[in-house]
C-alpha cells in the first residue's frame, strides 16, 4: 500500500455522495485538459440557459481535471480521475484565490470483475464520489453521460452490506484514541420516525470481533452474523428491543462512516484503498 497520505489527505473527513458509473466510452487519460475546457464551456452554457446555481451572484467557474495515480488497487485498474470546480468572483483581482466549490472523483480499486469483461474502447471507473452542491453534481454528471455514453446512478448501501462494513472496519488496527463505533437503526412501522443510536467502545467492539474472526485477513458471512447478533443480544438484554427487526442505516467507526443512502466519509488514509475496494465492489454489482 504505497498511497502517499499527503496526496490523499484532502479526501479525508469530507462527506461523499456515491454513484455507480457504467464504463466510459472513448475516454482518454491524455485528454484531461481538453475535458476540463469542454466541461467548463458546458457549465457556462448551462448558466446562460438560466440554470444558475447561485441566484444573483455571477461566478466564474473554473474546471480542473487531473489524475490521481495513487488510488488504485492493481496495475489493471484505471488511475482515479479528479474533477475540481473552483470559483472566482469576476469583481476580485485576477490573481486572487480561487475558492473550491465542488469536488468529484472517479475511481476503480480492484475492479477486475468489470474491466476484464469490457471491450477495448471502454474505461472502467465504476465508483464516483461527489462533494458539493447537488446542482453541480448534476451538471458535471450530465456532461460525462453525454460525452462518454455512460450512466450514473446513486449507489445505495443495504443493511447487509453495512453490517459487513461494521465488522470489517472494527477489525482494523487504529491508535488508542479511536472514536466509538456507532450504529444507527431506523425503526419501521411507527407513526413518528424513530432512530436508535447504539454506541460501542471501540476496544470492546474490536475484542468481540477478535473472538469471532477465525482467520485473520478473511471474513465470512457467518462471522459477520455472529458479530452483529452479539451486539443485538447485548442491546436486547438491556433495553428489550430487537434491533434485528429494525433497519441498519448508518455505521461509523474510526476508519470510515457509511450511510445507507450512499454517503461515506473516509477518516484514515491508511485504510482508504481498502474502503474504496469495498465500495468499488458495490458499484460494480449495481452496474451489472
Amino acid at each position: 500500500e504505497n498511497v502517499d497520505p499527503q496526496r490523499t489527505a484532502f479526501l479525508l473527513r469530507k462527506q461523499w455522495t456515491l454513484y455507480s458509473v457504467s464504463p466510459l466510452y472513448g475516454f482518454s487519460n491524455a485528454q484531461l485538459r481538453d475535458y476540463a475546457r469542454l466541461l467548463s464551456a458546458f457549465i457556462a452554457a448551462e448558466k446562460q440557459k438560466g440554470l444558475a446555481v447561485e441566484v444573483g451572484v455571477e461566478l466564474d467557474i473554473k474546471v480542473a481535471v487531473s489524475s490521481l495515480p495513487d488510488l488504485k488497487g492493481s496495475d489493471q485498474d484505471q488511475a482515479a480521475i479528479l474533477v475540481q470546480l473552483s470559483s472566482r468572483s469576476p469583481a476580485s483581482p485576477k490573481n486572487s484565490e480561487e475558492k473550491l466549490v465542488w469536488l468529484g472523483w472517479f475511481c476503480c480499486v480492484a475492479g477486475d470483475d468489470l474491466s476484464q469483461n469490457v471491450p477495448e474502447d471502454f474505461t472502467c471507473l465504476p465508483l464516483f464520489l461527489a462533494n458539493g452542491a447537488e446542482s453541480y453534481t448534476s451538471i458535471v454528471g450530465s456532461w460525462f453521460q453525454k460525452t462518454f455514453d455512460c450512466c450514473f446512478r446513486r449507489l445505495a448501501i443495504s443493511p447487509l452490506n453495512l453490517s459487513w462494513m461494521a465488522a470489517m472496519w472494527t477489525g482494523c488496527k487504529v491508535e488508542k484514541t479511536a472514536s466509538a463505533m456507532e450504529l444507527v437503526f431506523s425503526v419501521p412501522c411507527l407513526p413518528q420516525p424513530l432512530d436508535i443510536s447504539y454506541a460501542i467502545h471501540p476496544e470492546d467492539a474490536k475484542a468481540l470481533w477478535d473472538t469471532v474472526q477465525k482467520t485473520p485477513g478473511e471474513i465470512t458471512q457467518e462471522e459477520v452474523d455472529v458479530f452483529m447478533d452479539c451486539l443485538y443480544s447485548h442491546f436486547h438484554r438491556h433495553f428489550k428491543i430487537h434491533l434485528s427487526a429494525t433497519k441498519l442505516v448508518k455505521v461509523s467507526t474510526a476508519i470510515a462512516s457509511a450511510h445507507c443512502d450512499g454517503i461515506v466519509k473516509f477518516l484514515q488514509s491508511q485504510y482508504l484503498t481498502g474502503v474504496l475496494m469495498l465500495l468499488t465492489e458495490l458499484a460494480i454489482s449495481q452496474i451489472q
Binding site: A156, I157, S158, P159, L160, S163, P188, Q221, D225, M228, Y232, H242, S244, A245, T246, K247, L248, C260
Partner: protein, 131 residues
C-alpha cells in the same frame, strides 16, 4: 390462522381444526423475522415437512433494504425440504397471485385434489426450482 410464532398456545388445542399447510413468512428487511422462523421450526412435527410446509419471503422488491442474506433462506428451504416462494406484499397483482398459489397448495395438502398428494407436489416444486 395467523400466528406470530410457534408453538401455538395449548389452551385452544381442542378447538383447533386440522392444520394442512404451514407457511412461514420471512421479511427480507428483518433479520429478526428469520430468527423467529428458525426458532418456530423447532416446534413443528416432522410429518409436516413432507410437503405441508413452505417459506414465503416478502420485501424482495427493494434490494437495498436487504437485511437477510438470500443464501441463508435457500439453505433453510434445502434443510427443511420445503419450497421457497416470493411475494411483494405491496403490489396487489403479486399479492393476489401468491394467495392463489397458496390456496392451490392448501387444496392439495388437504387432499382435495384427486391424484396429487402433498409429498408428490412438493417434490415436483423442488425439482423444478433446482433446474
Amino acid at each position: 390462522h395467523l400466528a406470530t410464532s410457534l408453538p401455538l398456545p395449548s389452551e385452544r388445542d381442542h378447538l383447533r381444526p386440522r392444520i394442512d399447510l404451514i407457511a412461514f413468512m420471512i421479511d427480507i428487511k428483518s433479520k429478526y423475522s428469520l430468527k423467529n422462523v428458525e426458532a418456530s421450526l423447532a416446534h413443528v412435527d416432522a410429518s409436516f415437512f413432507l410437503g405441508k410446509v413452505c417459506f414465503l419471503v416478502t420485501g424482495v422488491g427493494r434490494v437495498n433494504y436487504c437485511s437477510v442474506e438470500m443464501n441463508a433462506i435457500w439453505k433453510l428451504g434445502e434443510v427443511y425440504c420445503s419450497p421457497v416462494l416470493f411475494c411483494e406484499l405491496e403490489l396487489e397483482g403479486i399479492r393476489v397471485a401468491t394467495a392463489q398459489r397458496l390456496l392451490r397448495m392448501l387444496q392439495i395438502c388437504a387432499g382435495h385434489v384427486p391424484g396429487v398428494s402433498a409429498l408428490s407436489f412438493s417434490s415436483l416444486m423442488r425439482s423444478s426450482a433446482d433446474e
